[in-house]
Amino acid sequence: MKAYNYDVVVIGGGPSGLAVATKLAEKGYKVALIERKDELGGILDQCIHDGFGTKLFNKALSGPEFASVFINKAETLGIGIHLNTYVKNVEIRENEKEIVAISPHGIKNIKTKAIVYAVGCRERHQFEIKIGGTRPAGVYTAGMVQRLINLYGILPGKNILIVGGGDVGMIVARHLYLEGAENLLIVFPEKRFAGLPRNVQQCILDFGIPYQPQTVVKEIIGKERVEGAILVRVDEKWKPIPGTEELYPCDTIILSVGLIPYSLKLKKIGAKIDPRTKGPEINEFFETTIEGVFAVGNLVQIFDYVDDAVESALIAADGVEKYLNQEPKEKIIEFVPGKYIRALIPHRIEWKDDRNIIAFFRANIEKENAHIELRDENGNLLKRYFRRYIRPSTLERIEIPRELLQDKRQVTLNVSED
């Protein structure tokens, strides 16, 4: 067994993990980065399309390009990089945390003062959305297909049904179109695509890929390989409309039906999980409910832009620094998602600091000229934000001046009715 000792261990070598590790290394801490795969970069290594870094670098980079900025940095900063290393156990003790990890080089015993989880998310699969029918070859998640095409040069099938109108589904549709799929159809239960408008234009409309809104897959047909799917129309509440079933012949079904934070491990060590985001509850510096254990990126909640996920990591790096410096916490101000808010982070404010608080939220309605209100526990309006559009598919970012929150116990964010 090999023993290691660090100030901070970052678990997960994707964009958020890389960002937090490099920033902490720049601050002078002894940092380790643990990655289960044999490469850094996370999901970005399969994202060969562009559009990454528009906020951070003012450039539309490809996934690998974006990742390489941080990977190069990580390599020059003397970060302890543990590839092919899988974290099996984490034990939390006062002022010390111990990680047991498995790697082809043997078991690693890693002691550290702080841990940042940056393990991202996973894709929802067919069984989580209760698709009926058989379970033949030819049903994949979109991320797997993206990897398959872009890294292995293999097409999953020829006549393809894509389920889900989110960004990943749209981007995969474009790849499939370019790489030789013969027939493509995208179906989704919403009235409109759930992804970013730029992807609707660049992936779907530009290539004339057919799509069918308000439709879901009722059943998969096929014994050994997918032979088709029974599609059914749904109403506004996503309830199937009887009699609208139709058979769509295809050999492949690709599911792009949502991402779920990989928070199970955090739950195991005792961190509180938010049922809305499915990620851990965090404070304004992305510390979980376990002291000295932080969570960043898509593990906390699904970000639309890698730039935002990276921002979460950079904020967390400041938090880790505060933790390591044993800076005091003040008192807890609860952060509550109010009306029309589906999810909100952070969940609480607790450090003594003077920086603005960066909050992310997702609305559960579509609204033009929307006002978002921040109110205290007595219902007093603290601040209003204006958005030209809000919609469930877009994660909104707001900054909250810290002085507004003085003496508050609880603040609520909601979308104004008017």
Binding site: M1, R36, N84, Y86, K88, V100, I102, S103, P104, H105, G106, I107, R122, E123, H125, Q126, F127, E128, K130, I131, G132, G133, T134, R135, P136, A137, G138, Y140, T141, G143, M144, R147, L148, I149, Y152, G153, I154, L155, P156, G157, K158, E179, G180, K218, E219, K223, E224, R225, D251, T252, L264
Partner: protein, 587 residues
Amino acid sequence: MSSLESKVAKILKRYPYDITFEINDKIVFLYGNVEKYKEWVEIGLRIGKIKGIDGVVNKIKWRGFPEDRFKEKEERRRMLFEKNREKVIGEYDVIIIGGGIIGTAIARELSRYDIKIALLEKASDIATGASKANNGMIHPGVAPPRNTLKRKLNIRGNAMYDKWAEELGFKFKRVGSLWLITPRTLIRYKKYLPGPLYRVVLKYIFPWVVKFKGMRNGVKGIKILRGKEIFRLEPYVTKDTLAAVYVPSTGIVDSYEVTIALAENAKENGVEIHLKTEVVGFLKEKNIIKGVVTNKGVFLCKYVVNAAGIYADEIAELAGAREYTIHPRKGVELMFHKDTGGLIHHCLSELVFPSHPTSKGGGLNPTIHGNVMWGPTAVEVPDKEDTSVKREEIEFVLERYSTIIPNFPREQMIRYFAGVRAPTFTEDFIIRPAKWVKNFLHVAGIQSPGLASAPAIAEYAIDKLKAMGLELKENPLFNPRRNPIPATAEMSIEELDKRIMENPKWGNIVCTCELVSEAEIIEAINRGAYTLDAIKRRTRAGMGTCQGSYCTLKIAEILSRELGVPLNDILKEESKLFNGPVRGEAP
């Protein structure tokens, strides 16, 4: 008219159809047409219940009977038969048809003796029929009626599992069953009993009825529990439980793990296992089978064991030994995340009488790997391969068993699947020599509790073979032991570290949900697995939270490397996992 004939005629008179029948050696053959599949099943079952009948061959057709598909199948078999009837593969003492739990159990039991055995399986792996879609329960033997072969073999089979598990190295745990008696148990009879009396019956009388039935069957250790005793064993079960019957001998296994273990041990002891080998006919001389014709060629033989599960009737037909018809009965199971494993400790069910027509019994089961399963249902389906799960069926199971543990986190479901049982109309195991073919042994109708009975079925089948004249001489080299593939997930850190030092592949975790290393996958390949699903059944890779979205590609890559075949030729089960290179270009 004999009494059997008049009994059959009396039953058929109830139906408005022109159904004819003949009885040959206590086997009833039915002909005619009915409107609904349901009626086809019903008529068969009614006739199967007649005492003194050995089998029902139901040749009645229902409206929508897939005539063309049967013809196509027949034609295909005939073509393969003609093509392969001359190509001799080898000479054997015993040919076993079917690589499920029963076929492999018989093969392994027979490998104790110095004879030449081949097991033929049409799929790409063993255990791909009912044996892969089973809830893994080793029934105690309370349920089967008296005077059935099922009852006898169930109780004996259950008792034999400890030794099997120990020798074959599969996981087995006697978790015990807890059958809850709640206000819903006899709800249909409530109107005959005033309220307080109903409770008394449920709490004090009914448990004894169940216990007595079990005791009469010969099941030991049955206890009646009330009040706190129940909740001490199972703290989360419904609080309105009035009493519970506890049966300690119920066990759990992973049915495909058992099947794989049996096959590996049989192979180790000299049984030839031929996968992708489909029986298409028989070479016969008078009433003796001389050879089994397959898509690969002819297996010359002295004895044939028909353990073809759902296809047993078709195989019997090909051999001229059709004595029964299988009516496929589907069972749906829901699988829950390991996080829910702590919520139950026994096989739990709520006794409801009369039992539900589409889910006889069933309940909540712990799995040997720490998950929880809900189900199964029991639905008659016309298609033997109908393992589809409809959304309504998922909802049905969720609804049906939700009263057992009301607060169960139902959203933690990670998979659902269905298997098809192989009952005959007489609803008992049929293990006997064929009536009209001399060297053909039926091992058919092995439905629930077939898994629990399997060790005893194998023993019983071999006694039958002996009685048929098979001479058996002990094989001095027989080794009853088989070593399972070591599982990273079960190793201590120290042990794993040691293994990694010897072979770094133990340290390469491929499936993170179930903690499966590359070394395990390679070991499974070395033991004969060559499809993604075969790997999954042997290592659990892909069985966890993400259902393979992360590891499928990695496993396919390992398979491709180890087998020396391109990635796009890797199979899932029978079909290719992926279509092919992009833009049709070779990689």
